[in-house]
């Protein structure tokens, strides 16, 4: 498998086509946003009625990265010159329509899904599929006690790198893969997000993200310097194991970086091994039944499932394997963010 071949840097082409497909689909996912400036804060002489900006934003991007585009629009169309001189981007902050402060360090896709699941608990909510997420943009007085400091692109980058390192640690027990990247490569990951360039991002990310490998009939090539850190457990040897070989790599992680988001509720994080202690592969259904047994009763109890799981906006079937999700549908920051919403019958 050329991902581990000496002297070759891994490329998207050496990854199985299905893995690349899902990574591409995840990358290209977008959500509709409607951004409206708080009318109380519109500077005098603004062109009212036009202060709404619509954007189909990439799920893997971040709100601070949208600010330049929004600002250009507002300066062109809404604000006059006097207003343009006084607005300060660093004071901008976002709120949802129902008054919830939005965390700028969350990927936009997560903000959208988190909003969807909150809506699923409202008794009168209409379950439509792609309504724009309506955001209110405030231009002044950020509530600093509730927001992380300084929502600049640079701080956003630090937050992103921090999440990647944490994910790296959870997968392998150390952050050597991340810290082993040259600075230019680390920067390349963020540049890929900023420019929304799949190839630029994955050129580096494929070195640190577990992958799935196709069936091989030969033994693994000798590890190169880049791969000596990938310790492969004996069961990963395709000639001797009895697990299907296309789960190598993804299933040799210690744990999959996963978080569960509950509607208006806490964020849960726990250890998610790719394979359970008594042998079976860890699936999403097993995982959710163990963590949230009242919402996802184990099948043997015969009770109905009361909730659903959203990942990248998709309702993921319970048979999906956690390791595969970690390799193919994680966010750009390495995390599998499972948003749990209530099924309609339960919301009543």
């Amino acid at each position: 498998m050329s991902t581990y071949a000496p002297r070759h840097s891994p490329s998207a082409f050496s990854t199985p086509a299905s893995t690349t497909l899902f990574r591409r689909l995840t990358w290209e996912g977008t959500v509709p946003l409607e951004i409206r400036v708080d009318s109380k804060e519109l500077p005098a002489n603004s062109d009212r009625g036009l202060e709404c900006y619509y954007i189909q934003a990439p799920r893997v991007s971040y709100l601070p990265l949208l600010v330049p585009e929004i600002k250009r629009y507002l300066l062109d169309v809404v604000f006059d010159e006097a207003a343009a001189r006084v607005i300060k981007e660093e004071d901008w902050w976002f709120e949802s329509e129902d008054g919830n402060l939005l965390k700028w360090h969350w990927p936009i896709g997560l903000i959208y899904d988190n909003h969807s699941i909150s809506q699923s608990t409202r008794p009168n909510a209409v379950q439509s599929v792609f309504t724009p997420l309506r955001l209110v943009l405030h231009l002044v007085s950020p509530p600093t006690e509730k927001l992380l400091l300084a929502p600049s692109a640079e701080a956003c980058k630090q937050a992103f790198m921090g999440q990647l390192k944490e994910a790296d640690f959870i997968r392998w027990g150390n952050t050597k893969r991340m810290t082993g990247l040259r600075k230019a490569e680390q920067d390349g990951l963020w540049e890929g997000i900023k420019e929304h360039n799949f190839d630029e991002y994955w050129r580096v990310a494929s070195k640190i993200t577990p992958t799935t490998t196709p069936t091989r009939s030969h033994s693994p090539p000798p590890p190169s310097a880049a791969t000596s850190l990938h310790t492969r457990p004996p069961s990963a040897d395709p000639s001797s194991n009895n697990t299907p070989p296309d789960r190598d790599g993804a299933s040799s992680v210690r744990n999959v970086p996963v978080r569960i988001y509950l509607p208006d509720g806490p964020v849960l994080q726990d250890l998610v091994p790719p394979v359970l202690e008594d042998g079976p592969v860890h699936t999403l259904g097993t995982f959710l039944s163990a963590r949230l047994p009242l919402l996802f009763p184990p099948p043997e109890t015969g009770k109905h499932t009361l909730a659903y799981a959203l990942l990248q906006g998709v309702q993921v079937p319970p048979e999906a394997e956690m390791a595969w999700l970690g390799a193919c549908m994680a966010g750009a920051d390495g995390w599998v963010n499972v948003c749990v919403g209530l099924l309609r019958e339960a919301a009543r």
Binding site: E145, K146, F169, M178, P257, V267, Q269
Partner: protein, 196 residues
């Protein structure tokens, strides 16, 4: 490596055993699994700013650098010891009212923190990519906090434990926590400030 779930119980043990003489005002918030307390911290006296201009902290000072530091003015500091699910060890989280005053408060032993590298999101050791002090969501409360990156503290604690006598049976985790507090106190002055 200590298993994840077993850590949550011992967080309560130091509170019961260490009475008021050691760590004042610590509460164990049951069911949510973390230690918390609130204290009032003085700002650093203004003379510490002029240490030959060595400590350049452009990122973590107030915007108006010409404002005089008012002696005796107090900052509210909330401190937490929270279990980090990612690194499987406790981590020290805190918030400071007027959080851009982090470095100037009396909370830290000044000789330890490196000069800021101009990044408002965290402090980094000069030869490391890993941020020493970062911002993140409190694992239970979800509110924004500063925290010390926990991955290196466990190595240090491990080394100290390896070099010391074993604990009494059943007290291993308590000993771990005691050593952890000892290691953290090299950076954080746990006795600074007074109870709110």
């Amino acid at each position: 490596m200590v298993m994840a779930r077993t850590f949550r119980t011992p967080l309560q043990v130091p509170v019961n055993r260490c009475s008021a003489s050691v760590l004042t005002g610590v509460q164990y918030v049951s069911g949510l699994g973390y230690l918390s307390r609130g204290i009032l911290l003085p700002r650093s006296p203004s003379s510490e700013e002029d240490e030959g201009g060595e400590l350049a902290e452009p990122a973590l000072v107030t915007e108006d650098e010409s404002a005089a530091v008012v002696p005796g003015e107090l900052l509210t500091c909330k401190q937490y010891v929270v279990y980090s699910a990612a690194f499987e060890v406790p981590a020290f989280y805190f918030t400071l009212h007027e959080s851009n005053q982090v470095v100037r408060s009396a909370l830290f032993r000044r000789s330890v923190l490196p000069p800021s590298d101009g990044n408002t999101f965290g402090l980094t050791l000069p030869d490391s990519n890993l941020a020493l002090l970062s911002q993140g969501d409190h694992p239970t409360l979800g509110t924004p906090s500063w925290y010390f990156h926990p991955c290196h503290t466990s190595e240090v604690v491990g080394e100290i434990l390896a070099a010391s006598e074993g604990a009494q049976p059943g007290d291993e985790l308590l000993q771990w926590m005691e050593v952890w507090f000892m290691v953290m106190s090299n950076v954080v002055d746990f006795f600074a400030g007074s109870n709110t």
